[in-house]
Amino acid sequence: MKKSFLLFFLLIPLIASAETADEIINKVDQNQLFITQKYKIEMTIKKGNRELAKEFFGYGQKDGDKAFMEFTNREDLGVKYLKLNDELWIYFPDADDIMKISGHMLKQGLMGSDISYEDLLETEEMKTKYESKFIKSENFDGRDCYVIEANAKVEDASYQKQILFIDKEKYIPLKIEMYAKGGRLLKNMLLSDIRKVGSRYVPWKIEIQDKRRRNSKTTLVFKEIIYDINVPENTFTRRSLKK
């Protein structure tokens, strides 16, 4: 009797802290869930000595996986992207033409950046494609973090493995390492300047480094983000591209 009592006490701290990896990922996913969103982003693409600055705004809608983006910097003014489920359309004002991008093309870098179209447009929850495992707790960038290893459970996941450093308080990943099949670190994503928007935390600055190249980095800085707003009618239609 005494023995089991002791055992019980020993177990309490374990139970209390043992939020499972799935629960953590769930919370992360929850924090990122939205019905609709509007954002404005400044993107800097650095490749070697070259640096490109771009600016765009966009709308997203969870229902039906819809997304719309329009570039506003001078070089790409009027270039628009529309994603409806698995299909992506691009509108180029110079050619006044709508192009459909599908299949393999979706995996290419957006406007020459280190982010693939998929990375940006994919709103799928992590748990559908990855099996998560809690590794350890670690301090990252002055914050207490859970280190979670997410292994792909389906062949069509983008990465074989991702290691996420998730802020224990805000449930926001502060660092994500993405590994290719073969075990090589491909990309590193750093999320910082976490701000509270409504009820959720949002990283205001996202940096993506391509680890295969020296000096290659894409930085996204939010200028504005609003959740659950009314998206203007017909935003997610192909007609809106030509407008």
């Binding site: 996941a157 290719a180 090589r184 190249r213």
Partner: protein
Amino acid sequence: MKYLFKLALKNIMKARRRTILTFLMLSFGVMVYLIMESMLAGFDKASFQNFIDFETGHFKIRNENFDEDHPYDTDYSLKNTDQIEEKLKNLDFVTGYTSRINFLSEIDNGIDSTPVITVGVDPENDSKVFSLKKYIIKGSLEKGGALLGKTLADDMKVDAGDIIYITFRSSKGMFTSIELLITGLVQSADPKVNNLTVFINLDEAREHMGVEGATEITFRVKDYQEPERYTKQLESDFSGFRVQSWKELSTDFTALMSTKRAGGRYFLLFIVVIALVGIINTLLMSVYEKRREIGTLMALGMEHNEIRNVFMIEGFLIGFFGSICGLIIGTITNLYFIYSGIDYTAMVGEGGMGFNVMGVIKSSWVISAYISSLLIVVFASVLSSYYPAKKVMKMNPAECLRTVQ
């Protein structure tokens, strides 16, 4: 008529220096044109041979839905390559076949990266169809290794024995990065192979890419000059697949070639203009010089038409003999280019000048260039002598005789 010819010949001979200059201009132009056409024809021939030896083979079998706009997409591959290969083995006119997987990837040495075409090669059968093996300059293609184009290796600053990575999305979409030991270098006559191709083992390509069979099966036949002979049988034997001969596979290539040939036409036009200006000049001068003579001839009762003809015959003679002379010198010079050839690698580096060639290229005889240059130059010469000749017709014998020279 004979008399007119004699007169024309005399006129030409009289103003020897001027005639020789025009004559030389014409011969030189024709000669250069002839050499250039032969060279281009040689390039064409070599390009086609390379295209067959390195890219198309004689026939290719691919998935029915293969998308020509995205040739490196592995979505539509051949699943049952063994069955197809077995079938090909039993066809008596097929002399060799091989499977390959082509896909796009990015190669990097940890510092720089560049997009490349990765080709999974069947180590046993590839040399029965493609000439790749003959052009390996260092090492060989081994399991777990890669064979790199020489220029690509130079660009990436790597050599045999070094490690490189190739990164791509598998056919299912997962990022895959594999480490490869460079086990060999290849330098071929095909710039595509040299500049942007990484060859790896077929089985490894299958495994990493997640493709069961191959993206294409290429084979050679006995009589490749007339692939149409086999088309019918191949279509019935391999229904449900896309079977294309090298002729069909090279339509883009042929179009490119003909664009390049158009350059030769411009050159001919250029010579024609030189001929026109030169001949007009020579004959106009001669008209002015010979005013008194022309006046005398007219006074003696020679018809205007006859005098005009003399000048046109002069034009014809310069044009005709100029071209013949050019063709003879051109032919003699061409003998060297045709039988010895020139090593273009040394001349233009390894870019191939946009042609699919490299190394020693021999020119070919182009009979049509002889005919076209002769006809066009003679026609242009006669045409350009028409203007000075017409001037003569307007002349008045009395005025001509009054001219003091």
